[in-house]
């Protein structure tokens, strides 16, 4: 075999393997989606979406959990987005690789890998008890905000790095200050990347159960959250609760709950993608 044909064979092998791996993961995903859909679609109706939780499987609904998830996510995004972007702008544009900045950098990378239950314990200690916020939407959102923060910071930094130096230099040449340059040139240019990071962070936050159970999120609640200080429950807790019950009818509810969670997640991502495309077009 000549070396050329050997290289071509190697190329083919890699290609085949890549396709195989891709197919495998797609098949697994499809199987999961099909399984959940076939278990849950019968329970999916307006009554399911607008009813309170219940100990009777056929009456149970996810209304407070759906609203709870949305409320918590809003607080999470409200905290993680400005803090995360601010931190990333500092590290990337001002921090300048000093010893302190490097220390912060290493810590952020480590934080991204901390198990979520640890954030739950932190949230219980600080937000619920020291700050006295109780097991509220605010405590839950702040806990998940901390959990999402490292992801937002890391992806925002990546996005800031993609903005070409020439854009900054051009801005300076026209007499803009550093802040004007960041606000009018760097951040808008990096926005699509920042949004992608935000999607990833929020997608992780919306599926979390353990930290919210730890801070005392509820499982049964017959009213919807009235504000950020209200007690709450979220979709993953409701699903977890149904999955742990002995009666098979609850497994159907759980599957239907998973579908709702998936739809919520996908529509959230869709909104972010649309926004990202609009910003990209506006810049082009």
């Amino acid at each position: 075999m000549t070396s050329a044909s050997r290289r071509i064979a190697g190329d083919r092998l890699l290609q085949t393997m890549s396709i195989l791996v891709l197919t495998l993961s797609l098949v697994a995903l499809t199987a999961l989606l099909y399984d959940v859909w076939s278990d849950g679609w019968r329970r999916l109706d307006w009554q399911f979406l607008t009813s309170m939780p219940s100990g009777r499987a056929h009456l149970a609904g996810i209304y407070p959990a759906l609203l709870g998830s949305l409320y918590v996510l809003l607080v999470t995004a409200g905290l993680a987005l400005p803090l995360g972007i601010g931190a990333a702008v500092y590290l990337e544009e001002y921090g300048g690789g000093g010893r302190l900045a490097r220390l912060i950098e290493i810590n952020i990378a480590n934080l991204a890998g901390v198990p979520s239950i640890i954030y739950g314990l932190l949230g219980l200690g600080i937000f619920v008890r020291v700050f006295g916020w109780g097991p509220s939407v605010l405590s839950g959102g702040a806990t998940l905000g901390l959990l999402a923060l490292p992801v937002v910071i890391l992806s925002t930094r990546e996005a800031l790095r993609t903005v070409p130096m020439s854009a900054r230099e051009g801005s300076y040449a026209l007499g803009a200050t550093k802040w004007q340059t960041i606000w009018h040139q760097v951040l808008p240019g990096a926005l699509p990347g920042i949004l992608t990071g935000l999607i990833l962070a929020m997608s992780r936050a919306i599926g979390e159960t353990a930290p919210l159970i730890t801070i005392g999120a509820l499982a049964y609640i017959d009213f919807t959250p009235s504000g950020v200080m209200s007690p709450f429950t979220v979709l993953p807790i409701q699903i977890y609760n149904w999955i742990s019950k002995p009666q098979a009818a609850f497994a159907e509810n759980a599957a239907a709950g998973i579908i709702v969670l998936l739809v919520l997640l996908l529509s959230m991502n869709a909104v972010a993608i649309v926004l990202r495309d609009r910003f990209q077009k506006a810049r082009a």
Partner: protein, 340 residues
């Protein structure tokens, strides 16, 4: 850039909102809500009762969470909840924590739960086990040593035994270890553990050489996939030979030692100060029998329920289980009568 400006303003809004909420949050729960937390085993009963209570006229809102028996008591003894669900009696250290915070409580049994020891339907050799055999199998010393069925009883196959049991945070774990090994929380660690009994059902039903324990309700819902073992406590006084668990033997006390009462603990301060808590407690006991059957547990007998109601009416505080060794041999009726 409008989006970014809005995003940067949000923390100010959030901060303002929590500033406004701080006064009512200082008591941790809004005064009107009846907050329940604790055992995930008792959760289905409290959930269904909270739901029915919510349909009565002028009912206060009720919230229920399931942090686990231990986690529930931690919150209860800090005054963060009004009712604590428990699948075992309060422990000495929890009593101390409550005492230090001057949180008094009324201890009310509300139902029975049986623990089922189950094997795979393909298992043809095992039909029953003695408590001594369970102890030999589950004791911490067994870890890495008692690995085969033949080591438990002569004549059983030389096959590896695969164990499934409750997660260490659950009251089920505390209760099973105390009833078999003799000390709560002392167990071998080399088994598949889950807080979710359905995971254990999956495990045992797919594994010919498996053995596991779980709430009786989970066996009842999965009859075709599991085989139940009879349990022999070798004490003829409460039924000779192995006893096959069923709702009847759990209630009449012959399925020893793997049947247990489930409890709610009510804060005496809340009971005294808040009429809606008293109303809820009465509602709970009046409906406990019907609801516990509905969610798959075993209801107390009418006589026992009458004693529990009397205990609530008298607002008898403290636990019936302070002297653990002596009380484990007594029936619930004897315990309830002893304190009246």
């Amino acid at each position: 850039m409008r989006l970014l400006s809005v995003a940067l303003l949000l923390p100010a809004v959030v901060a303002a909102a929590c500033g406004g909420g701080n006064e009512q949050a200082s008591s941790s729960t809004p005064a009107a809500v009846i907050a329940i937390d604790g055992s995930s085993t008792v959760y289905p009963i409290s959930e269904a009762i909270a739901e029915d209570f919510g349909k009565t006229d002028g009912a206060a809102p009720v919230t229920v969470a399931f942090t686990g028996t231990g986690g529930g008591f931690k919150k209860f003894c800090r005054g963060e909840t009004v009712v604590s669900d428990a699948s075992r009696p309060i422990s000495a250290s929890e009593l101390e924590a409550c005492g230090q915070a001057s949180i008094g409580f009324v201890e009310l049994p509300v139902a029975y739960d049986g623990l089922a020891v189950v094997v795979n339907p393909k298992n043809t050799w095992a039909t029953s086990m003695t408590v001594a055999e369970l102890k030999k199998l589950w004791a911490p010393e067994a870890q890495g040593k008692v690995m085969q069925w033949s080591q438990i009883r002569a004549g059983w196959p030389d096959k590896n035994i695969n164990l499934y049991g409750a997660g260490t945070d659950s009251g089920t774990f505390d209760y099973f270890t105390e009833a078999t090994v003799g000390t709560a929380k002392k167990s071998r660690g080399d088994y598949t553990s889950s807080e979710n009994d359905n995971v254990l059902v999956q495990g045992v039903s797919g594994d010919e050489y498996a053995l596991g324990y779980m709430g009786l309700a989970y066996y009842e819902e999965n009859r075709g996939r599991l085989t139940l073992l009879g349990i022999d406590d070798e004490n003829p006084a409460n039924g000779a030979g192995p006893i096959q668990p069923s709702f009847d033997v759990v209630r009449n006390g012959t399925y020893r030692p793997l049947s247990r009462p489930l409890f709610i603990y009510l804060s005496i301060n809340a009971l005294a100060a808040r009429p809606e808590v008293q109303k809820f407690a009465d509602f709970y006991l009046n409906n406990a029998a019907a609801i516990s059957k509905e969610v798959g547990y075993v209801s107390l007998t009418d006589a026992e329920l009458a004693l529990v109601k009397a205990r609530l009416a008298a607002r008898t505080t403290g636990t019936m289980f302070a002297d653990h060794a002596a009380q484990s041999q007594k029936s619930l009726t004897e315990l309830l009568q002893g304190r009246q």
